[in-house]
Assembly symmetry: C2
Homo-oligomer: 344 residues x 2
């Protein structure tokens, strides 16, 4: 028996792999969020959360960013979606012997810019050089702090209904809430795929890598957010399915509401890939108490006019269902894996 | 210009590499310990410290342990040597496609055992599968908490002299203090070297990988520890030089006091390698206020009878100097790099 590519590709296979080989050995929790909850961050010592990601994206430099910007934003985003302010970060570089210094300098420059944009402090690090053909891998681990914005959000939610969690949880959604996406999807995944495969499409697309805390904090101040995820590996389809499954609700989305560029959609479909399963690195999907949804949307639109309410949670079914442009209904299953290997 | 093996091998070259390409871009600190101080952990939010390490040891399974036990103990040890209780940890696996599940299971088993022995909680994680020829890399990032033992230690130190730091710092030593090593050195590095090179020496040696908090906390309770490091990459020679340079003191050690097995020393020297630059994964070296040194040593000896006072700090010179078995004096320079690549 060997480890398969799909065991680490987000989605259903990875989840099965972790449940079989990882969680039984090391399951533990320090607060309300356990390792095996598979949320974006886990809380400790009342007011902090911890999250980790190893970035192995290939190529390490791509249109719109690099493994450097990805490593800072990706980890900061995992803190932001539980409602935590990204405060501190560790940075661990694993570099292949022979990697060009010029590339490393560009990556470090991106790390520097991204950390300043997020407002996170890189306080500790590690460097290894190996002979394996990796180019560069980066691990960032982030510490987030309980924020005023989170408290305001929870207060707003609780003025409408019970919310028994101290952080924004994947399982926090209830029926009758709006589902909002903060901007166009599928652009990071498509960028990486096109760069790697040297596919010749005449399309001007680049990674959407961006620190979501910059707009998430404004949305939290309006309040009403009951669950939130950044749709990375496995894309929007994976994020929606995780919220639906963990919250025990169905989700009905309208295809024509899902923000995606026509040309991005066209290229994905030409390549036989569902754009909803393509990774994003600067977007969030959230469920919001109905009465506050429009106000949250307006705040998000100030940052990205493509933000949209794409549907609602429901108790009528338990899957993620999409009403297509031609009016038919189809189930959006959880992706078995991300369609692009080494996308982040 | 390319990244060289020595840029990530501990020691002088790595330090130069970091000062040139990494620190200028991302230098920051959240408490008293800055990234560029290159200490084992950095403090944040008053009562916590953070540390990170990516483990790339080859082979991933070796006599006495595996990359799994190394990943938990190594990171916990970096927390322990600043005086923090290892409390929480993240675990990020990067696994090569095709890696044997049986090996992965042994590694997970080691992680499980080590985390229980340390008493640390693994609360968040990440998994990636890549096609690069790495076998397995593991990043662990640890959060340590201010401990009662640390407070007791600082109180004891301050009853003898000023100590202007809130954590145990590399720069904390002053002249006239005892230098203690907690047990035999060079065994981890030699084990990895022998396994990898399939060298045929008739020697029964295995990695010393062990969570040092188990005995460090007892030593802290006695008190008087003014600086402490776990001598990993670059070994005892590197750890002593770091303390000497950062504290601005010289260190005089006696060769015959340095605990090392005769056969380990013999094999190292036969291979042309200085055993003092070989990595250890379950030892500490510390400076201790003179009056408390014997008591600290006795506590350490309960855990490992080979613990020894190997010398003293001095203002007579600024290097690390060793009095050899034949009575001559020689400088122990900071290793330019660890003699064994991918040792941890």
């Amino acid at each position: 028996m060997i480890v398969r590519r799909e065991d680490g590709a987000g989605g259903k296979y990875m989840s099965e792999f972790l449940k079989k080989y990882v969680f039984p050995k090391i399951s533990s929790k320090a607060g309300e969020i356990a390792l095996e909850d598979m949320e974006d961050s886990a809380d400790f010592s009342e007011n902090f959360v911890l999250t980790t990601d190893s970035y192995t994206v290939k190529p390490p430099l791509f249109r719109g960013g690099s493994i450097g910007s990805l490593a800072v934003c990706g980890t900061a985003n995992d803190l932001a979606v539980v409602g935590a302010k990204p405060s501190y970060m560790s940075l661990s570089l694993i570099v292949q012997e022979g990697f060009e210094i010029e590339k490393l300098e560009r990556i470090m420059e991106d790390i520097s810019k991204a950390k300043d944009e997020v407002g996170v402090k890189v306080i500790t690090g590690d460097t290894k050089v190996v002979e394996a053909n990796i180019e560069i891998f980066i691990n960032t681990t982030g510490v987030g702090e309980r924020s005023e914005e989170l408290e305001e959000n929870l207060e707003a939610v609780r003025s409408y209904r019970e919310y028994p969690f101290r952080w924004i949880r994947d399982k926090g959604a209830k029926e009758g809430e709006a589902v909002i996406v903060s901007g166009n999807v599928a652009e990071h995944g498509l960028t990486i795929l096109l760069e790697r495969e040297s596919l010749n499409f005449e399309i001007d697309v680049s990674s959407d890598v961006y620190p979501v805390w910059k707009f998430v904090r404004k949305a939290l101040k309006v309040g009403g957010i009951t669950s939130m995820k950044d749709p990375t590996r496995g894309g929007l389809a994976n994020a929606l399915n995780e919220i639906a499954e963990k919250s025990g609700v169905g989700i009905l989305v309208e295809e024509e509401k899902i923000p995606i560029r026509e040309d991005v959609k066209f290229v994905c479909e030409t390549l036989g890939i569902d754009p909803l399963s393509m990774a994003n690195e600067g977007k969030v999907v959230m469920t919001v108490v109905k009465d506050l949804a429009d106000e949250v949307l307006q705040v998000l639109k100030k940052f990205d006019e493509n933000a949209e309410i794409i549907g609602y949670t429901t108790k009528e079914f338990s899957e993620v269902v999409m009403k297509t442009r031609i009016g038919t209904m189809k189930v959006v299953p959880p992706p078995v894996m991300d369609p692009v290997p080494r996308v982040c």
